[in-house]
């Protein structure tokens, strides 16, 4: 079993080049796709991994066991790799965003339209996280954007080591945007830093307005909340004011944009947010 993400299978990465057909991707190893198991041994391990740690031995007369103080963060290794990813991205002048939501909230549809409309203006590449299939990578690839598909097997989230390998495969150019589309899940991805500069949570109006209070950990650390599928507002019972108030309570500094990838509502604001979030050219 994978010691970081808990998957009992193998997380697989496939590099899908722009224009690759779904058939070529389905063929997997025979086509352009490359698969490799993500390894969690990273050498050299950054200093942060060991900083502040110390061991003490204590003898307890009534037992033969000895206590060893570790005082170590459980996710220290993931966080150290995420720190490396962040520094690498910063040095390249690349904006990486972690896109999270429940399954079906519209992450891929938003990215399809974004990649098409920004072609020629802003270079976008995508890391797709799903338990299985390269279906989403196929959709993104059709827009002309470069995409790496990570299949996590039974794993419920992406981790920093998977993203490290995907970044290496993507090789994003300076001044570009890398969108990491996390596994659709409002619980587990909240805990795993990937090295992103910003965390975006999508909340579709069809899910109902209660998601922020039901999944507070996800919304608490959001930099931007995109309320998606707003073209469906006339047909669903979605209390937008209550939703906005709950998001504000959980994450007072988060920006909110109402958006529809079908009608185009809010897309201009979304593109402005992306451009303003790009690191200044070094």
């Amino acid at each position: 079993m994978c010691a970081t993400c808990g998957c009992s299978g193998r997380a697989r990465l496939r590099l899908v080049r722009a224009g690759d057909t779904a058939k070529a991707m389905a063929e997997g190893r025979q086509g352009h796709a490359h698969e490799f198991h993500h390894e969690h041994d990273h050498d050299p391990v950054p200093e942060a991994w060991d900083s502040g740690e110390h061991e003490h031995d204590h003898d307890h007369g009534h037992t033969h066991d000895r206590t060893v103080l570790l005082q170590q963060k459980v996710l220290a290794k993931n966080d150290a790799i995420a720190g490396n990813n962040r520094a690498w991205l910063r040095d390249r002048g690349v904006l990486a965003i972690n896109l999270m939501s429940s399954p079906g909230a519209g992450k891929t549809t938003l990215l399809e339209r974004t990649a098409r409309e920004l072609t020629g203006n802003l270079h976008i590449s995508v890391i797709e996280g799903d338990q299985e299939t390269a279906l989403d990578a196929s959709r993104i690839s059709a827009t002309g954007a470069s995409v790496v598909q990570i299949n996590t097997g039974v794993g419920c989230h992406l981790d920093a080591a998977m993203v490290e390998q995907a970044l290496f495969a993507l090789d994003p150019p300076p001044g570009s945007v890398v969108v990491i589309e996390n596994v659709g899940n409002l619980v587990c991805p909240a805990l795993f830093d990937l090295g992103e500069a910003a965390r975006i949570v999508l909340a579709s109006v069809t899910e109902g307005a209660d998601k922020p209070v039901k999944y507070p950990h996800m919304f608490r650390r959001a930099d931007l909340v995109l309320v998606t599928k707003t073209d469906l507002l006339p047909y669903v019972d979605f209390d937008a004011a209550r939703h906005a108030a709950d998001v504000k309570q959980l994450s007072p500094d988060a920006r909110m944009i109402q958006i529809s990838a079908t009608t185009g509502e809010g897309m201009t604001d979304w593109y402005s947010w992306l451009r303003l979030s790009l690191p200044a050219p070094g």
């Binding site: 970081t4 066991d65 005082q71 587990c188 805990l191």
Partner: protein, 109 residues
């Protein structure tokens, strides 16, 4: 079920730090605002430690309560539930404690 991934990280970390040790007890400190459920960790522990130096070890979890400072009125308060609502009515709060996810110590047999 990220608690399984958390426990796997615990096993990996302890094994890295004490490669040949036979561990009899693992003591974790988990904040109530960390997003990790202590009971789910207990549920995974036996499964995840099987075949490792931690097999058969007991798991002790100390839950650290949440503590916040209100950015509006400046008072410290203990949040009641996952929404960090200060008694003054503001939810604009900084988390001071409660997000811990730490391996405090282990007992080596």
């Amino acid at each position: 079920m990220h608690e399984l991934a958390i426990i796997e990280s615990v096993v990996e970390t302890v094994t890295d730090r004490l490669p040949d040790a036979r561990i009899s007890c693992v003591h974790l400190e988990i904040g109530t605002l960390s997003g990790v459920v202590a009971d789910a960790l207990r549920f995974c522990f036996e499964l995840a430690t099987e075949g490792t130096g931690l097999e058969g070890a007991s798991l002790e979890i100390t839950e650290q309560p949440g503590r916040c400072r209100c950015r509006t009125c400046g008072q410290d308060f203990s949040p009641d539930g996952p929404i960090l609502l200060c008694p003054c009515g503001s939810a604009d709060a900084e988390i001071l404690a409660g997000q811990e996810l730490k391996i405090a110590s282990v007992k080596v047999a």
